[in-house]
Protein backbone atom coordinates (compact mmCIF):
# COMPACT_ATOMS: atom_id res chain seq x y z
CA UNK A 1 0.00 0.00 0.00
CA UNK A 2 1.11 3.51 -0.77
CA UNK A 3 1.38 5.87 2.13
CA UNK A 4 -1.36 8.51 2.29
CA UNK A 5 -0.51 11.40 0.04
CA UNK A 6 1.69 9.26 -2.19
CA UNK A 7 -1.15 7.62 -4.08
CA UNK A 8 -2.12 9.28 -7.33
CA UNK A 9 -5.87 9.87 -7.14
CA UNK A 10 -6.38 11.59 -10.46
CA UNK A 11 -3.83 12.18 -13.18
CA UNK A 12 -3.58 13.78 -16.58
CA UNK A 13 -1.20 11.88 -18.82
CA UNK A 14 0.14 13.82 -21.80
CA UNK A 15 -3.28 15.39 -22.36
CA UNK A 16 -3.89 17.48 -25.46
CA UNK A 17 -7.26 19.01 -26.23
CA UNK A 18 -8.10 20.88 -29.39
CA UNK A 19 -11.37 22.49 -30.37
CA UNK A 20 -12.32 23.27 -33.92
CA UNK A 21 -13.81 26.74 -34.02
CA UNK A 22 -14.77 29.20 -36.72
CA UNK A 23 -11.24 30.44 -37.06
CA UNK A 24 -9.65 27.02 -37.30
CA UNK A 25 -8.32 24.76 -34.58
CA UNK A 26 -7.72 26.05 -31.09
CA UNK A 27 -5.29 24.14 -28.91
CA UNK A 28 -6.68 24.48 -25.39
CA UNK A 29 -4.25 22.09 -23.71
CA UNK A 30 -0.99 20.74 -25.04
CA UNK A 31 0.77 17.63 -23.71
CA UNK A 32 -0.20 18.38 -20.14
CA UNK A 33 0.74 15.96 -17.39
CA UNK A 34 -0.31 16.36 -13.78
CA UNK A 35 -0.68 14.02 -10.82
CA UNK A 36 -3.05 14.91 -8.00
CA UNK A 37 -2.35 12.87 -4.91
CA UNK A 38 -4.99 11.48 -2.62
CA UNK A 39 -6.08 13.99 0.01
CA UNK A 40 -4.39 16.87 -1.74
CA UNK A 41 -6.03 20.31 -2.09
CA UNK A 42 -4.72 21.36 -5.47
CA UNK A 43 -5.48 24.85 -6.71
CA UNK A 44 -4.91 25.64 -10.36
CA UNK A 45 -4.24 29.33 -11.05
CA UNK A 46 -4.17 30.80 -14.49
CA UNK A 47 -5.27 33.70 -16.66
CA UNK A 48 -8.65 33.40 -18.34
CA UNK A 49 -8.54 31.25 -21.45
CA UNK A 50 -5.61 29.15 -20.26
CA UNK A 51 -7.63 25.96 -20.47
CA UNK A 52 -8.11 25.34 -16.77
CA UNK A 53 -11.84 24.76 -17.14
CA UNK A 54 -11.12 22.47 -20.09
CA UNK A 55 -8.86 20.40 -17.85
CA UNK A 56 -11.55 20.18 -15.18
CA UNK A 57 -14.18 19.17 -17.74
CA UNK A 58 -11.88 16.41 -18.92
CA UNK A 59 -11.43 15.19 -15.34
CA UNK A 60 -15.21 15.10 -14.82
CA UNK A 61 -15.58 13.17 -18.07
CA UNK A 62 -17.76 15.86 -19.71
CA UNK A 63 -15.29 15.85 -22.56
CA UNK A 64 -12.62 13.49 -23.84
CA UNK A 65 -9.00 14.41 -24.53
CA UNK A 66 -7.90 14.65 -28.17
CA UNK A 67 -4.73 12.91 -27.13
CA UNK A 68 -3.52 11.42 -23.84
CA UNK A 69 -5.52 10.10 -20.92
CA UNK A 70 -7.15 11.06 -17.66
CA UNK A 71 -6.65 8.41 -14.98
CA UNK A 72 -8.76 8.05 -11.85
CA UNK A 73 -7.16 5.60 -9.42
CA UNK A 74 -5.05 4.39 -12.34
CA UNK A 75 -8.04 3.64 -14.57
CA UNK A 76 -8.83 5.78 -17.60
CA UNK A 77 -11.88 8.06 -17.37
CA UNK A 78 -14.06 7.38 -20.40
CA UNK A 79 -17.36 9.03 -19.57
CA UNK A 80 -19.11 11.24 -17.05
CA UNK A 81 -18.37 9.83 -13.63
CA UNK A 82 -20.08 10.65 -10.32
CA UNK A 83 -16.75 9.79 -8.70
CA UNK A 84 -15.60 13.30 -9.64
CA UNK A 85 -18.17 15.66 -8.13
CA UNK A 86 -18.23 19.01 -9.90
CA UNK A 87 -19.16 22.32 -8.33
CA UNK A 88 -19.92 25.04 -10.86
CA UNK A 89 -19.50 28.78 -10.62
CA UNK A 90 -23.18 29.23 -11.56
CA UNK A 91 -24.29 26.74 -8.86
CA UNK A 92 -26.37 24.63 -11.31
CA UNK A 93 -29.07 23.95 -8.73
CA UNK A 94 -32.39 22.56 -9.95
CA UNK A 95 -34.79 25.50 -9.55
CA UNK A 96 -37.85 23.21 -9.24
CA UNK A 97 -36.37 21.27 -6.34
CA UNK A 98 -36.18 22.40 -2.74
CA UNK A 99 -32.82 22.56 -0.94
CA UNK A 100 -33.56 19.14 0.53
CA UNK A 101 -34.42 17.59 -2.84
CA UNK A 102 -31.40 19.18 -4.49
CA UNK A 103 -29.06 17.70 -1.89
CA UNK A 104 -30.81 14.33 -2.18
CA UNK A 105 -30.52 14.26 -5.97
CA UNK A 106 -27.39 12.14 -6.32
CA UNK A 107 -28.65 9.69 -3.69
CA UNK A 108 -31.97 9.39 -5.48
CA UNK A 109 -30.08 8.55 -8.66
CA UNK A 110 -28.35 5.78 -6.71
CA UNK A 111 -31.84 4.52 -5.79
CA UNK A 112 -31.16 4.95 -2.10
CA UNK A 113 -34.29 4.45 0.05
CA UNK A 114 -36.10 7.65 0.91
CA UNK A 115 -35.62 7.58 4.69
CA UNK A 116 -31.90 6.96 4.39
CA UNK A 117 -31.44 9.67 1.82
CA UNK A 118 -33.33 12.17 3.92
CA UNK A 119 -31.11 11.48 6.88
CA UNK A 120 -27.95 11.79 4.80
CA UNK A 121 -29.08 15.02 3.15
CA UNK A 122 -29.90 16.50 6.56
CA UNK A 123 -26.35 15.77 7.69
CA UNK A 124 -24.81 17.65 4.77
CA UNK A 125 -27.28 20.52 4.95
CA UNK A 126 -26.12 20.87 8.52
CA UNK A 127 -22.42 20.79 7.51
CA UNK A 128 -22.92 23.80 5.22
CA UNK A 129 -25.02 25.50 7.95
CA UNK A 130 -28.27 25.65 6.02
CA UNK A 131 -30.47 24.02 8.64
CA UNK A 132 -33.94 25.54 8.48
CA UNK A 133 -33.79 26.14 4.72
CA UNK A 134 -34.60 22.55 3.68
CA UNK A 135 -37.94 23.50 2.16
CA UNK A 136 -36.77 26.66 0.37
CA UNK A 137 -36.47 26.83 -3.37
CA UNK A 138 -33.13 28.05 -4.82
CA UNK A 139 -34.51 31.37 -6.07
CA UNK A 140 -35.24 32.36 -2.47
CA UNK A 141 -31.56 31.93 -1.53
CA UNK A 142 -28.60 34.29 -1.87
CA UNK A 143 -25.64 33.40 -4.09
CA UNK A 144 -23.56 32.24 -1.15
CA UNK A 145 -26.34 30.01 0.13
CA UNK A 146 -26.88 28.53 -3.33
CA UNK A 147 -23.21 27.63 -3.58
CA UNK A 148 -23.41 26.00 -0.14
CA UNK A 149 -26.36 23.90 -1.32
CA UNK A 150 -24.32 22.90 -4.35
CA UNK A 151 -21.39 21.90 -2.12
CA UNK A 152 -23.72 19.88 0.13
CA UNK A 153 -25.24 18.22 -2.94
CA UNK A 154 -21.81 17.12 -4.12
CA UNK A 155 -20.60 16.00 -0.70
CA UNK A 156 -23.75 13.97 -0.03
CA UNK A 157 -22.97 11.99 -3.15
CA UNK A 158 -19.60 11.10 -1.59
CA UNK A 159 -17.37 11.53 -4.65
CA UNK A 160 -13.72 10.47 -4.57
CA UNK A 161 -12.63 13.82 -5.97
CA UNK A 162 -14.22 17.26 -5.69
CA UNK A 163 -13.76 19.51 -8.70
CA UNK A 164 -14.52 23.19 -8.18
CA UNK A 165 -14.62 25.57 -11.13
CA UNK A 166 -14.14 29.11 -9.78
CA UNK A 167 -16.92 28.42 -7.29
CA UNK A 168 -16.70 31.69 -5.39
CA UNK A 169 -15.98 34.06 -8.27
CA UNK A 170 -19.54 35.36 -8.47
CA UNK A 171 -19.83 36.08 -4.74
CA UNK A 172 -19.11 39.27 -2.83
CA UNK A 173 -15.86 39.48 -0.85
CA UNK A 174 -17.41 38.82 2.58
CA UNK A 175 -19.43 35.81 1.49
CA UNK A 176 -16.43 34.47 -0.38
CA UNK A 177 -14.31 34.57 2.77
CA UNK A 178 -16.95 32.75 4.80
CA UNK A 179 -17.26 30.04 2.15
CA UNK A 180 -13.50 29.68 1.83
CA UNK A 181 -13.22 29.08 5.56
CA UNK A 182 -16.10 26.62 5.42
CA UNK A 183 -14.48 24.73 2.55
CA UNK A 184 -11.17 24.51 4.41
CA UNK A 185 -12.99 23.10 7.45
CA UNK A 186 -14.79 20.54 5.28
CA UNK A 187 -11.47 19.60 3.65
CA UNK A 188 -9.74 19.20 6.99
CA UNK A 189 -12.55 17.01 8.29
CA UNK A 190 -13.25 14.83 5.25
CA UNK A 191 -9.83 14.87 3.55
CA UNK A 192 -11.26 14.63 0.07
CA UNK A 193 -9.00 15.11 -2.90
CA UNK A 194 -9.84 18.56 -4.24
CA UNK A 195 -9.02 20.24 -7.53
CA UNK A 196 -9.99 23.90 -7.35
CA UNK A 197 -9.72 26.46 -10.13
CA UNK A 198 -9.35 30.17 -9.53
CA UNK A 199 -7.73 33.27 -10.93
CA UNK A 200 -7.22 34.73 -7.48
CA UNK A 201 -3.71 34.15 -6.11
CA UNK A 202 -4.86 34.98 -2.58
CA UNK A 203 -7.59 32.38 -2.78
CA UNK A 204 -5.05 29.85 -3.99
CA UNK A 205 -2.67 30.62 -1.13
CA UNK A 206 -5.43 30.52 1.46
CA UNK A 207 -6.93 27.19 0.45
CA UNK A 208 -4.37 24.96 -1.18
CA UNK A 209 -1.85 22.40 -0.13
CA UNK A 210 -0.33 22.69 -3.60
CA UNK A 211 -0.57 25.31 -6.35
CA UNK A 212 -0.16 24.80 -10.07
CA UNK A 213 0.19 27.82 -12.37
CA UNK A 214 -0.97 27.26 -15.92
CA UNK A 215 0.38 28.99 -19.02
CA UNK A 216 -1.75 30.79 -21.52
CA UNK A 217 -2.97 29.01 -24.63
CA UNK A 218 -1.98 26.32 -25.27
CA UNK A 219 -2.38 25.39 -21.62
CA UNK A 220 0.60 23.79 -19.92
CA UNK A 221 2.01 23.81 -16.42
CA UNK A 222 4.30 26.75 -15.74
CA UNK A 223 4.88 26.24 -12.05
CA UNK A 224 4.14 23.62 -9.42
CA UNK A 225 4.48 24.86 -5.84
CA UNK A 226 3.88 23.12 -2.52
CA UNK A 227 2.01 25.53 -0.28
CA UNK A 228 3.70 25.10 3.11
CA UNK A 229 1.96 28.00 4.86
CA UNK A 230 0.86 27.07 8.37
CA UNK A 231 -2.82 26.55 9.29
CA UNK A 232 -5.05 28.30 10.11
CA UNK A 233 -4.19 30.84 7.46
CA UNK A 234 -5.33 33.88 9.41
CA UNK A 235 -4.36 37.55 9.06
CA UNK A 236 -0.95 36.92 10.67
CA UNK A 237 -0.07 34.27 8.10
CA UNK A 238 -1.30 36.52 5.31
CA UNK A 239 1.17 39.21 6.42
CA UNK A 240 4.09 36.81 6.89
CA UNK A 241 7.22 36.96 4.73
CA UNK A 242 6.61 33.45 3.38
CA UNK A 243 3.10 34.40 2.19
CA UNK A 244 4.38 37.48 0.39
CA UNK A 245 7.28 35.53 -1.10
CA UNK A 246 4.93 32.85 -2.49
CA UNK A 247 2.53 35.45 -3.76
CA UNK A 248 5.34 37.27 -5.57
CA UNK A 249 6.60 34.05 -7.17
CA UNK A 250 3.16 33.13 -8.43
CA UNK A 251 2.35 36.64 -9.54
CA UNK A 252 5.56 36.82 -11.55
CA UNK A 253 4.73 33.74 -13.55
CA UNK A 254 1.02 34.58 -13.91
CA UNK A 255 1.94 38.09 -15.05
CA UNK A 256 4.22 36.75 -17.76
CA UNK A 257 1.41 34.53 -18.95
CA UNK A 258 -1.19 37.29 -18.91
CA UNK A 259 1.10 39.54 -20.94
CA UNK A 260 1.80 36.72 -23.35
CA UNK A 261 -1.88 36.01 -23.87
CA UNK A 262 -2.56 39.71 -24.47
CA UNK A 263 0.13 39.71 -27.15
CA UNK A 264 -1.49 36.70 -28.76
CA UNK A 265 -4.84 38.47 -28.78
CA UNK A 266 -3.54 41.71 -30.27
CA UNK A 267 -1.28 40.12 -32.88
Amino acid sequence: MDAIGKHNKISALGVTKTFSGKRGEVIALKDLSLDVQEGEFLVIVGASGCGKTTLLNLMAGFDTPTDGQILLDGKPVTGITPECGMIFQQYALFPWKTVQDNVEFGLKMKRMPKAERKERAAKYIDIVSLKGFEKSYPHHLSGGMKQRVSIARSLANDPAVLLLDEPFAALDAMTRQVLQEQLVRIYEKHRKTIVFITHSIDEALLLSSRIVVMTARPGRIAQDIVNDLPHPRNADVQLSDRYIELKRTIWNSVQTEVLKSMEVETS
Binding site: A60, F62, I80, P82, C84, G85, M86, F88, Q90, A92, F94, P95, W96, K97, F105, G106, K108, M109, K110, Y137, H139, R153, S154, N157
Partner: protein, 254 residues
Protein backbone atom coordinates in the same frame (compact mmCIF):
# COMPACT_ATOMS: atom_id res chain seq x y z
CA UNK B 1 -54.00 48.60 -0.62
CA UNK B 2 -53.77 51.30 -3.25
CA UNK B 3 -52.97 48.78 -5.95
CA UNK B 4 -56.08 46.80 -5.05
CA UNK B 5 -58.22 49.94 -5.23
CA UNK B 6 -56.91 50.54 -8.71
CA UNK B 7 -57.71 46.94 -9.71
CA UNK B 8 -61.28 47.35 -8.51
CA UNK B 9 -61.76 50.62 -10.39
CA UNK B 10 -60.44 49.06 -13.60
CA UNK B 11 -62.90 46.22 -13.10
CA UNK B 12 -65.69 48.79 -12.81
CA UNK B 13 -64.52 50.33 -16.11
CA UNK B 14 -64.59 46.92 -17.80
CA UNK B 15 -68.10 46.11 -16.52
CA UNK B 16 -69.37 49.55 -17.58
CA UNK B 17 -67.85 49.12 -21.02
CA UNK B 18 -69.62 45.77 -21.44
CA UNK B 19 -72.95 47.24 -20.28
CA UNK B 20 -72.68 50.20 -22.63
CA UNK B 21 -71.86 47.88 -25.54
CA UNK B 22 -74.89 45.68 -24.78
CA UNK B 23 -77.11 48.73 -24.30
CA UNK B 24 -76.12 50.18 -27.70
CA UNK B 25 -76.68 46.83 -29.39
CA UNK B 26 -80.09 46.44 -27.74
CA UNK B 27 -81.20 49.99 -28.59
CA UNK B 28 -80.11 49.73 -32.23
CA UNK B 29 -82.17 46.52 -32.55
CA UNK B 30 -85.22 47.96 -30.79
CA UNK B 31 -85.16 51.11 -32.88
CA UNK B 32 -85.28 48.93 -35.98
CA UNK B 33 -81.84 49.82 -37.34
CA UNK B 34 -80.82 46.17 -37.38
CA UNK B 35 -82.86 43.40 -38.94
CA UNK B 36 -83.43 40.68 -36.22
CA UNK B 37 -82.68 37.95 -38.74
CA UNK B 38 -79.17 39.38 -39.23
CA UNK B 39 -78.48 40.22 -35.61
CA UNK B 40 -80.99 39.60 -32.83
CA UNK B 41 -80.99 41.78 -29.71
CA UNK B 42 -79.13 40.60 -26.60
CA UNK B 43 -82.43 40.10 -24.77
CA UNK B 44 -83.60 37.79 -27.57
CA UNK B 45 -80.46 35.72 -27.20
CA UNK B 46 -81.01 35.63 -23.44
CA UNK B 47 -84.60 34.49 -23.95
CA UNK B 48 -83.35 31.71 -26.24
CA UNK B 49 -80.77 30.75 -23.59
CA UNK B 50 -83.46 30.46 -20.92
CA UNK B 51 -85.59 28.31 -23.21
CA UNK B 52 -82.70 26.02 -24.10
CA UNK B 53 -81.56 25.70 -20.51
CA UNK B 54 -85.10 24.66 -19.57
CA UNK B 55 -85.24 21.91 -22.17
CA UNK B 56 -81.68 20.85 -21.34
CA UNK B 57 -80.33 21.31 -24.86
CA UNK B 58 -77.85 24.08 -24.02
CA UNK B 59 -76.12 22.03 -21.33
CA UNK B 60 -76.15 18.97 -23.55
CA UNK B 61 -74.44 20.75 -26.47
CA UNK B 62 -71.93 22.54 -24.26
CA UNK B 63 -70.98 19.37 -22.43
CA UNK B 64 -70.69 17.43 -25.68
CA UNK B 65 -68.20 19.91 -27.14
CA UNK B 66 -66.29 20.28 -23.88
CA UNK B 67 -65.97 16.53 -23.50
CA UNK B 68 -64.68 16.15 -27.07
CA UNK B 69 -62.12 18.91 -26.64
CA UNK B 70 -60.96 17.51 -23.31
CA UNK B 71 -60.60 13.92 -24.47
CA UNK B 72 -58.86 14.83 -27.73
CA UNK B 73 -56.63 17.39 -26.06
CA UNK B 74 -55.67 15.09 -23.16
CA UNK B 75 -54.76 12.21 -25.46
CA UNK B 76 -52.77 14.53 -27.71
CA UNK B 77 -50.91 16.07 -24.72
CA UNK B 78 -50.23 12.72 -23.09
CA UNK B 79 -48.62 11.47 -26.29
CA UNK B 80 -46.93 14.75 -27.22
CA UNK B 81 -45.24 15.44 -23.85
CA UNK B 82 -43.14 12.25 -23.54
CA UNK B 83 -42.58 12.05 -27.29
CA UNK B 84 -41.53 15.71 -27.48
CA UNK B 85 -39.11 15.36 -24.57
CA UNK B 86 -37.65 12.29 -26.20
CA UNK B 87 -37.23 14.00 -29.57
CA UNK B 88 -35.88 17.16 -27.94
CA UNK B 89 -33.11 15.19 -26.27
CA UNK B 90 -32.17 12.93 -29.15
CA UNK B 91 -30.73 14.46 -32.29
CA UNK B 92 -30.93 11.16 -34.13
CA UNK B 93 -34.64 10.55 -33.56
CA UNK B 94 -35.35 14.22 -34.20
CA UNK B 95 -33.77 13.71 -37.64
CA UNK B 96 -35.88 10.58 -38.16
CA UNK B 97 -39.19 12.22 -37.33
CA UNK B 98 -38.52 15.76 -38.54
CA UNK B 99 -39.76 15.22 -42.14
CA UNK B 100 -43.02 13.65 -40.95
CA UNK B 101 -43.68 16.40 -38.42
CA UNK B 102 -42.86 19.06 -41.00
CA UNK B 103 -45.43 17.51 -43.35
CA UNK B 104 -48.15 17.23 -40.71
CA UNK B 105 -47.69 20.59 -39.07
CA UNK B 106 -49.05 22.89 -41.79
CA UNK B 107 -52.24 20.81 -42.22
CA UNK B 108 -55.25 22.54 -40.66
CA UNK B 109 -57.48 20.21 -38.66
CA UNK B 110 -60.28 20.95 -41.14
CA UNK B 111 -58.37 19.13 -43.86
CA UNK B 112 -58.57 15.94 -41.82
CA UNK B 113 -62.37 16.00 -41.64
CA UNK B 114 -63.08 14.15 -44.94
CA UNK B 115 -60.57 11.39 -44.23
CA UNK B 116 -61.68 11.01 -40.63
CA UNK B 117 -65.33 10.71 -41.71
CA UNK B 118 -64.33 8.08 -44.22
CA UNK B 119 -62.33 6.11 -41.68
CA UNK B 120 -64.40 6.57 -38.54
CA UNK B 121 -67.87 7.75 -39.62
CA UNK B 122 -69.81 10.46 -37.76
CA UNK B 123 -68.72 9.07 -34.39
CA UNK B 124 -67.29 10.40 -31.18
CA UNK B 125 -63.93 8.85 -32.07
CA UNK B 126 -63.96 10.90 -35.25
CA UNK B 127 -64.41 14.09 -33.18
CA UNK B 128 -61.57 13.13 -30.83
CA UNK B 129 -59.35 12.35 -33.79
CA UNK B 130 -59.95 15.79 -35.31
CA UNK B 131 -58.96 17.48 -32.05
CA UNK B 132 -55.96 15.15 -31.82
CA UNK B 133 -54.79 15.79 -35.39
CA UNK B 134 -55.28 19.52 -35.04
CA UNK B 135 -53.35 19.87 -31.80
CA UNK B 136 -50.75 17.08 -31.82
CA UNK B 137 -48.13 18.40 -34.26
CA UNK B 138 -48.14 21.98 -32.92
CA UNK B 139 -48.05 20.70 -29.31
CA UNK B 140 -45.13 18.48 -30.19
CA UNK B 141 -43.22 21.43 -31.62
CA UNK B 142 -43.91 23.55 -28.53
CA UNK B 143 -42.62 20.75 -26.32
CA UNK B 144 -39.49 20.15 -28.41
CA UNK B 145 -38.73 23.87 -28.24
CA UNK B 146 -39.32 23.92 -24.48
CA UNK B 147 -36.97 20.96 -24.11
CA UNK B 148 -34.23 22.78 -25.95
CA UNK B 149 -34.51 25.79 -23.67
CA UNK B 150 -33.14 23.85 -20.68
CA UNK B 151 -29.81 25.13 -19.40
CA UNK B 152 -27.26 22.49 -20.53
CA UNK B 153 -25.37 23.13 -17.30
CA UNK B 154 -28.25 21.55 -15.35
CA UNK B 155 -28.09 18.44 -17.52
CA UNK B 156 -24.36 18.31 -16.95
CA UNK B 157 -24.79 18.68 -13.20
CA UNK B 158 -27.39 15.91 -13.15
CA UNK B 159 -25.19 13.55 -15.13
CA UNK B 160 -22.29 14.40 -12.83
CA UNK B 161 -24.45 13.38 -9.87
CA UNK B 162 -25.03 9.97 -11.42
CA UNK B 163 -28.22 10.50 -13.45
CA UNK B 164 -28.70 8.24 -16.48
CA UNK B 165 -30.01 9.71 -19.72
CA UNK B 166 -33.51 8.55 -18.83
CA UNK B 167 -33.17 10.06 -15.34
CA UNK B 168 -32.17 13.33 -16.99
CA UNK B 169 -35.34 13.35 -19.10
CA UNK B 170 -37.57 12.64 -16.12
CA UNK B 171 -35.80 14.62 -13.42
CA UNK B 172 -34.37 17.57 -15.32
CA UNK B 173 -35.87 18.10 -18.76
CA UNK B 174 -39.53 17.47 -17.87
CA UNK B 175 -39.70 19.73 -14.78
CA UNK B 176 -37.37 22.29 -16.38
CA UNK B 177 -39.48 22.56 -19.49
CA UNK B 178 -42.82 22.35 -17.67
CA UNK B 179 -43.52 26.11 -17.40
CA UNK B 180 -43.03 26.48 -21.15
CA UNK B 181 -44.91 23.27 -21.92
CA UNK B 182 -47.91 24.51 -19.96
CA UNK B 183 -47.78 27.90 -21.67
CA UNK B 184 -47.77 26.10 -25.01
CA UNK B 185 -50.62 23.79 -24.05
CA UNK B 186 -52.72 26.78 -23.06
CA UNK B 187 -52.43 28.10 -26.61
CA UNK B 188 -53.15 24.60 -27.92
CA UNK B 189 -56.31 24.36 -25.88
CA UNK B 190 -57.69 27.34 -27.79
CA UNK B 191 -56.76 25.65 -31.06
CA UNK B 192 -58.43 22.42 -29.90
CA UNK B 193 -61.68 24.40 -29.57
CA UNK B 194 -61.51 25.70 -33.10
CA UNK B 195 -60.91 22.09 -34.23
CA UNK B 196 -63.98 20.72 -32.54
CA UNK B 197 -66.26 23.53 -33.63
CA UNK B 198 -65.24 23.06 -37.26
CA UNK B 199 -65.72 19.30 -36.98
CA UNK B 200 -69.18 19.82 -35.50
CA UNK B 201 -70.11 22.38 -38.12
CA UNK B 202 -69.46 19.79 -40.81
CA UNK B 203 -70.94 16.66 -39.33
CA UNK B 204 -72.39 16.09 -35.85
CA UNK B 205 -75.59 15.34 -33.98
CA UNK B 206 -74.78 17.44 -30.93
CA UNK B 207 -72.30 20.01 -29.70
CA UNK B 208 -72.03 23.80 -29.94
CA UNK B 209 -70.85 23.65 -33.56
CA UNK B 210 -73.89 21.54 -34.44
CA UNK B 211 -76.14 23.92 -32.50
CA UNK B 212 -74.83 26.90 -34.49
CA UNK B 213 -75.21 25.12 -37.83
CA UNK B 214 -78.66 23.83 -36.92
CA UNK B 215 -79.73 27.32 -35.82
CA UNK B 216 -78.69 28.66 -39.21
CA UNK B 217 -80.73 25.97 -41.02
CA UNK B 218 -83.90 27.11 -39.22
CA UNK B 219 -83.09 30.84 -39.49
CA UNK B 220 -82.78 31.03 -35.69
CA UNK B 221 -80.05 33.63 -35.61
CA UNK B 222 -80.46 33.91 -31.83
CA UNK B 223 -79.49 30.22 -31.50
CA UNK B 224 -76.44 30.85 -33.72
CA UNK B 225 -75.33 33.76 -31.54
CA UNK B 226 -76.08 31.87 -28.35
CA UNK B 227 -73.83 29.06 -29.55
CA UNK B 228 -71.05 31.54 -30.24
CA UNK B 229 -71.44 33.17 -26.82
CA UNK B 230 -71.35 29.74 -25.17
CA UNK B 231 -68.04 28.94 -26.90
CA UNK B 232 -66.51 32.13 -25.51
CA UNK B 233 -67.80 31.51 -22.00
CA UNK B 234 -66.72 27.87 -21.94
CA UNK B 235 -63.20 28.69 -23.16
CA UNK B 236 -62.93 31.43 -20.53
CA UNK B 237 -64.04 29.11 -17.73
CA UNK B 238 -61.62 26.38 -18.82
CA UNK B 239 -58.83 28.93 -19.00
CA UNK B 240 -59.47 29.95 -15.38
CA UNK B 241 -59.48 26.31 -14.24
CA UNK B 242 -56.27 25.67 -16.21
CA UNK B 243 -54.57 28.61 -14.51
CA UNK B 244 -55.37 27.25 -11.04
CA UNK B 245 -54.04 23.89 -12.07
CA UNK B 246 -50.88 25.51 -13.46
CA UNK B 247 -50.10 27.16 -10.13
CA UNK B 248 -50.27 23.93 -8.20
CA UNK B 249 -48.06 22.21 -10.79
CA UNK B 250 -45.34 24.84 -10.63
CA UNK B 251 -44.84 25.58 -6.93
CA UNK B 252 -41.27 26.83 -7.41
CA UNK B 253 -42.30 29.72 -9.64
CA UNK B 254 -44.26 31.35 -6.84
Amino acid sequence: MKKEDKGVSYLVVSVLSLLIFLFLWESLCRMGFIEPLFLPAPTKILARAVKMIENGQLIQHTLASTRRVMVGFMVSSLVAIPFGIFLGSSRFFMAVFDPLISLLRPLPSMSWIPLSLLWLGISETQKYSIVFMGSFAPSLLYIIEATKSIDPLLIRAARNLGASKLDVMREVILPGALPQIIAGLKVMLGIAWTCIISAELVAAREGLGFMIMNGKEYFQTDTVLLGMVMISITVMVIDIVFRKFERSLLPWTR
